[in-house]
């Protein structure tokens, strides 16, 4: 059976029951895109909004309730909040660059793979660093702001360091697993599509 024999048939075919009226098209234009990248962008806006509100409130409440003792904590909360915003900004920037539907199909897929891998690396790095960072900040506050209990001797600091190392290791492997679970299949599918361009 020859493909060329079906060119005329193909052109004359009208997708039955699939005609879309102008009114239906207008309704479609009001809808939000459901593509994964569009949804990820919307999630980031929500998360960033939540970080701004929650961290600002926490810092303010902390400052006004305990101005003498916890000003440092407020500053730390603000610093973590600003770092969080940079994290969302960077993710959003990568997502915005990730897709170019007007580009050639091959270059669009290439761009998606490259930037998604960059996005994953950043996500993995940020996720892995977050746990030890929070641990260190908490440790700093406990050591400097709480009454002297437990005693701050050498064994305390060794124990603190050992827990920190274990937590960092756990955070690394947990993040590795989670990132692979979230994006592994997606990247593999994109790579598979790209490989179809080079198939001999």
């Amino acid at each position: 059976m020859e493909l060329d024999n079906f060119k005329d048939t193909w052109k004359e075919m009208v997708p039955g029951e699939m005609k879309t009226s102008k009114e239906e098209l207008l309704v479609m234009l009001q809808q939000k895109s459901q593509r994964p990248i569009a949804r990820m962008k919307r999630n980031i806006y929500w998360e960033a909004g939540a970080v701004i509100v929650l961290y600002s409130l926490a810092a303010l409440m902390n400052y006004f309730l305990n101005p003498m003792f916890f000003a440092e904590m407020s500053i730390m909360l603000l610093v973590i909040g600003v770092l969080g915003l940079y994290y969302y900004y960077r993710k959003l920037k990568l997502l915005k660059e990730m897709e170019c539907v007007q580009c050639e199909v091959k270059s669009n897929l290439n761009r998606q793979v490259t930037l998604l891998e960059k996005y994953i690396r950043f996500y993995f790095f940020a996720g892995t660093v977050l746990a030890p960072l929070v641990y260190l900040v908490s440790g700093y506050l406990i050591i400097n702001k709480l009454p002297v209990y437990p005693p701050r001797d050498a064994s305390f600091y060794i124990l603190f360091a050992v827990f920190g190392i274990i937590l960092t290791g756990l955070s690394y492997y947990l993040n590795k697993w989670y990132v692979a679970k979230l994006y592994g299949q997606h990247v593999a599918q994109l790579r598979n599509l790209l490989s179809q361009f080079d198939e001999e």
């Binding site: 075919m13 009208v14 234009l29 895109s33 593509r35 050639e104």
Partner: protein, 190 residues
């Protein structure tokens, strides 16, 4: 064949699109102009959706997504490429990279209405059967191969296919020959 082609420019920011009614539309276009263009060219978009989805719901979702993407990109269309090239790129990019629906492709749906010419033909039943076989075979191709087949059936030149897909012309010719061979084998097996 697409019914609107970008044929000339007033300047780089205001290309003119000529519709099949010989009406000249200067860009930037209104929402109504956009709707007219989509309405005129919806046949090809539905055919692409048919090839890349397996259920009417997925078909409708993909069609909607293509329309949204076209609308979002419409304001930045500067006429550097033909309107058809631009539209095929967006439709195929949207369809091919929709990985969620790829995993759900389990059954073949090709909901086209038989062409009138074929209906009048005495050998219609035979041709319809052949077309069904070919449709099933096309569904078994890879995502990129399907895109090549769509453009080939739409009579796009290899140069335009290169502009849309990013595969060089020589490579496209080789791929096309292989696809034809593959389809021949697949339709024989059925």
């Amino acid at each position: 064949m697409l019914k609107a082609e970008c044929v000339m420019f007033l300047d780089m920011r205001r290309p003119i699109i000529k519709t099949n009614n010989n009406q000249n539309l200067a860009i930037p276009l209104s929402q109504n102009d956009f709707l007219n263009l989509v309405e005129e060219n919806q046949g090809i978009m539905h055919k692409i959706c048919s090839l890349y989805t397996s259920t009417p719901e997925d078909h409708q979702d993909m069609y909607q997504e293509i329309v949204i993407q076209l609308w979002r990109s419409f304001s930045s269309f500067r006429g550097e490429s033909k309107f058809s090239t631009w539209m095929y790129r967006i439709a195929l990019n949207t369809a091919i990279s929709d990985l969620r629906r790829q995993g759900r492709r389990v059954k073949v749906v090709f909901p086209e209405k038989p062409p009138e010419q074929l209906m009048a033909d005495t050998s219609y039943a035979e041709k319809e059967e052949q077309w069904k076989q070919l449709s099933v075979a096309i569904q078994q191709l890879g995502e990129i191969e399907k895109a090549i087949v769509v453009l080939y059936l739409e009579d796009r030149s290899y140069e335009e296919m290169e502009e849309i897909l990013g595969i060089n012309t020589n490579n496209l010719r080789v791929k096309m020959n292989r696809i034809k061979e593959k389809l021949r084998k697949l339709t024989k097996e059925e």
